[in-house]
């Protein structure tokens, strides 16, 4: 009889410590990335003080803005145990479409952004429909979409390029302007990030995305509309990538057919480095954004320190492997720890 009386309290304790264990692990991930970021910035600053002058900080934020945005969109897809490799091409297509649309006109930034979002949503809709309703593996679908969208972009551009001179000043102002010394672009990314994070945490459909990634079978039995949610995730990722395309135009003014070529892999790296599990169900957009910030800051730091840019790729690669290894080890350890705690 004593056993039955003692058990609940022991279990409750195990439960409490299990929760704090899990909390610690996830917070540890975000804290350690933030820590690495601070160390990197400090180190670079000491070696080259100009790194953190007004313009330096602005450049850091501007460089990160678009990647952070894409990482937010990608996280929403990865959390459902899928992937979207087409985002780089979508950015390229959307930037070019927006450029074509505004060149020689005086359309304002709002219209440009809406067009970019619409282009991206259309791409996301196709990928999402194939993945969710067609039941084709996400890797294949979005790889195919990457090439198709790129092809459309090349075919349309025919070697043509959009020049800053053709883009209305109001649009360019969005890319270069700032409020209280902070450029618009990072502010926009931050807003999208905060809203997405809040949505994922506090709305049923947001939690269902995690449920799908954690266990598709359980999600099915719980009556989660899996196909609709996955489709939604792709449309969101597409919309965000399309929006990023219009911001690309605003920032650089000059647009060629293969803008953002190869960015999809950087985005996936950022997301994984930021602690979003590639097998789904785990991770936050905050982490993914930190991952994106870390990757772009490494790039900026290396160029300030005049290190060969070849190292940037190598370091990103090493970081990615490290992040995945840590995920795996933590996962195994935590499962074992939780199992031992609940063993009776």
């Amino acid at each position: 009889m004593t056993a039955t009386i003692e058990k609940p309290t022991a279990q409750a304790e195990a439960g409490r410590s299990a929760r704090s264990l899990v909390d610690t692990v996830f917070r540890a991930r975000e804290i350690s990335i933030a820590g690495a970021l601070v160390l990197l910035v400090l180190f670079t600053w000491i070696a080259e003080p100009r790194f953190l002058n007004d313009q330096g900080v602005k450049d850091l934020l501007l460089n990160a803005a678009i990647l952070v945005l894409l990482a937010v969109g990608q996280s929403v897809v990865v959390v459902t145990r899928n992937i979207d490799l087409s985002v780089g091409s979508v950015v390229g297509l959307s930037a070019f479409a927006c450029g074509k649309f505004v060149s020689g006109t005086d359309h304002g930034p709002l219209l440009v952004a809406l067009l970019g979002i619409a282009v991206g949503m259309a791409c996301g809709l196709v990928s999402g429909a194939l993945v969710s309703f067609g039941k084709v593996p996400a890797l294949v679908v979005t790889l195919g979409m990457l090439y198709i969208i790129q092809g459309i972009d090349y075919w349309w551009a025919e070697g043509e390029q959009i020049n800053a001179a053709d883009v209305p000043q109001s649009v360019l102002d969005l890319g270069s302007g700032s409020v209280l010394g902070i450029p618009y672009l990072p502010l926009i990314s931050f807003a999208v990030l905060a809203v997405t994070a809040y949505f994922l945490r506090s709305y049923r459909s947001g939690r269902e995305l995690y449920a799908i990634g954690s266990s598709p079978e359980a999600a099915r039995l719980a009556g989660v509309p899996i196909r609709r949610r996955v489709l939604g995730a792709y449309v969101f990722s597409g919309a965000v990538a399309g929006f990023a395309g219009s911001l690309w135009l605003a920032r650089f003014g000059t647009v060629v057919a293969d803008n953002a070529h190869g960015w999809e892999l950087t985005v996936v790296s950022a997301v994984v480095v930021g602690g979003v599990a590639i097998v789904g169900g785990v991770g936050t957009v905050w982490g993914a954004a930190l991952g994106a910030l870390l990757l772009t800051t490494i790039g900026s730091a290396l160029s300030v320190l005049k290190v060969d840019s070849f190292w940037e790729d190598a370091i990103s690669g090493a970081l990615l492997l490290a992040a995945i290894s840590v995920d795996r080890i933590v996962n195994v350890r935590m499962t074992r720890a939780l199992r031992k705690r609940s063993a009776r």
Binding site: Q11, R19, Y210, A211, S214, G223, S342
Partner: protein, 509 residues
């Protein structure tokens, strides 16, 4: 305790339902009526179609023919959500949870209480979960992730899920299989309370005494067909068994007398932290030793550790006296071990490969020369074993996915017997196969033992354990709690040990 009103309209019913999966006819013309305030038992052997029936009621499967009736009106469930929305709660035999999400989220996924602007009220979710845990009398932290929960605790989460919406129909597929005596009692009191409030209950259990304790009516299935629906009052356990089995038990369990030889497999103090602990036993040549216990007692895990699929944290395995290198299935095979796994579709076979390829997989070195597989040898090996096991197939080059469950199981057996093992470990050898093939598998195991093979048989099918085993080992919550010789093995003695009611050395760790 309100007496059930069996004359009224059933809240949920099946009428003339048929359901097939490929060539396997899981349900044939099955009808069932569930009345408010009544607990209805569903009886039948493994593979009789109980799980398919439940999934049809739950909206997971749609019947090929026949109707699902809700309050007397035909309904079509397009998915589990439809069934849930009309108040049907299902507790599956194997809990399906989101390992990365908290217990609270697992319970309320898709139905979280909300506050303004459609936002989830996290505080309400947590307190509602705490209240459910209180009602069930367990102390599980609502914020703890489901990963690493014991099977019993996972079951608790499933039960809490069913309680969380006021279910009109509660369907439970062997909910007590992994629970201890006190947990079962608690579950039953909750079910009684729901029933008193007018909910209809459909209950599946292999433990007949639970059926008699909890239920008022019983429907029996055999080989996918409806056998009878009747009040339990006036029935005896023997009546029920006769309806379930429909044939003489001796015919189903043809146990041959064998001469027991020297020790073939000896396991000494094998431990895998958090899964099983301090497990020791021996299997001798010519012997069939059953490993009984509840789902989640750690039996499959012991078999996996013995065979080297999982690495044990401590302990030793010896085959014919020689210590086995841990963590290496290859070493285990070389030493003469063979493991027929529980899940033949996932682990036993490569479903897209042909019969001959599957059988050849365990002996690639024997059927190949110069690094290439010799088709003639491969086919010869497959033909030989297909004939010996009386496999029913079209061509050996057909892929195994087209075979019925029983024939697939024979392919798995062929695949392993072809390695000429000294010790055969079979995990749930007859789960989900029809009664005829089941008897064939039993006859095969029996004659193999008579030829001097050592057989370790993991089974949750109690009649199978009692009918086939020379000795019964019983595990409970990761420990070996009893060893019962054939003469003393009864349903009562095995179940008592498996549920932890007897047996020494049960420590609350």
């Amino acid at each position: 305790m309100s007496q059930a009103d069996s004359t009224g309209v059933p809240v949920l019913a099946l009428k003339g339902v048929n359901k097939s999966f490929g060539a396997v006819r899981a349900l044939r013309d099955v009808s069932l009526e569930l009345f408010p305030g009544e607990a209805h038992a569903l009886a039948g052997e493994n593979g009789a179609g109980k799980s398919t029936l439940i999934k049809t009621l739950a909206g997971v499967h749609r019947p090929d023919a026949g109707q699902v009736l809700l309050d007397g009106e035909p309904v079509v469930f397009h998915g589990p959500a439809d069934a849930r929305d009309v108040g049907i709660a299902v507790i599956y035999q194997e809990p399906t949870l989101f390992p990365d999400l908290s217990i609270a989220e697992n319970i309320f996924m898709g139905r979280q209480p909300r506050r303004g602007l459609g936002r989830i009220d996290h505080k309400a979710v947590r307190s509602a979960t705490a209240a459910l845990m209180g009602r069930l009398g367990v102390a599980l932290d609502p914020d703890r992730p489901a990963r690493g929960l014991s099977i019993a605790d996972q079951q608790i989460v499933e039960i809490a899920k069913a309680l969380s919406f006021d279910a009109r129909v509660l369907i439970m597929d062997e909910p007590t299989a992994a629970l201890t005596g006190s947990e079962t009692a608690r579950l039953f009191s909750v079910v009684e309370a729901l029933r008193a409030e007018g909910a209809a209950v459909l209950f599946i259990s292999h433990r007949l005494e639970e059926i008699f304790r909890l239920c008022q009516r019983v429907t029996t299935l055999r080989d996918g067909r409806w056998v009878a629906s009747e009040p339990l009052a006036g029935l005896t356990e023997d009546d029920l068994v006769r309806r379930m089995v429909g044939r003489d038990l001796d015919e189903l369990y043809p146990k041959q007398d064998t001469r027991v030889g020297e020790t073939a497999l000896s396991v000494h103090r094998l431990t895998r932290e958090g899964v099983f602990r301090d497990v020791s036993f021996e299997v001798r040549r010519g012997e069939i030793v059953a490993l009984a216990g509840l789902v989640g007692a750690g039996r499959t895990e012991v078999a996996q550790a013995v065979f080297g699929v999982d690495r044990a944290d401590a302990g030793e395995v010896r085959v014919a006296g020689t210590p086995l290198r841990p963590g290496s299935p290859n070493a285990a095979m070389a030493a003469g071990l063979a493991l027929v796994p529980e899940d033949r579709r996932q682990r036993g076979l490569v479903m897209e490969m042909s019969i001959e390829r599957n059988i050849g997989l365990t002996g690639l070195d024997r059927i190949s020369g110069g690094g290439l597989v010799k088709r003639a040898l491969e086919r010869g090996r497959a033909t030989d074993w297909a004939t010996r096991l009386q496999l029913k197939y079209g061509r050996l080059s057909d892929h195994v996915g087209v075979l019925s469950g029983g024939n697939q199981q024979k392919v798995v057996l062929a695949k392993w017997l072809a390695t000429d093992p000294a010790v055969l470990i079979v995990d749930e050898p007859t789960r989900g196969i029809d009664v005829g093939t089941k008897a064939e598998v039993h006859r095969l195991l029996s004659s193999l033992a008579a030829e001097g093979l050592a057989v370790l048989m993991i089974s949750s099918d109690l009649p199978e354990v009692l009918g086939m085993a020379d000795r019964v080992l019983v595990m409970h919550e990761g420990r070996m709690v009893a060893e019962i010789p054939r003469a003393e093995a009864t349903e009562e003695s095995v179940m008592a040990a498996a549920t932890g009611r007897t047996g020494k050395g049960r420590a609350a760790a």
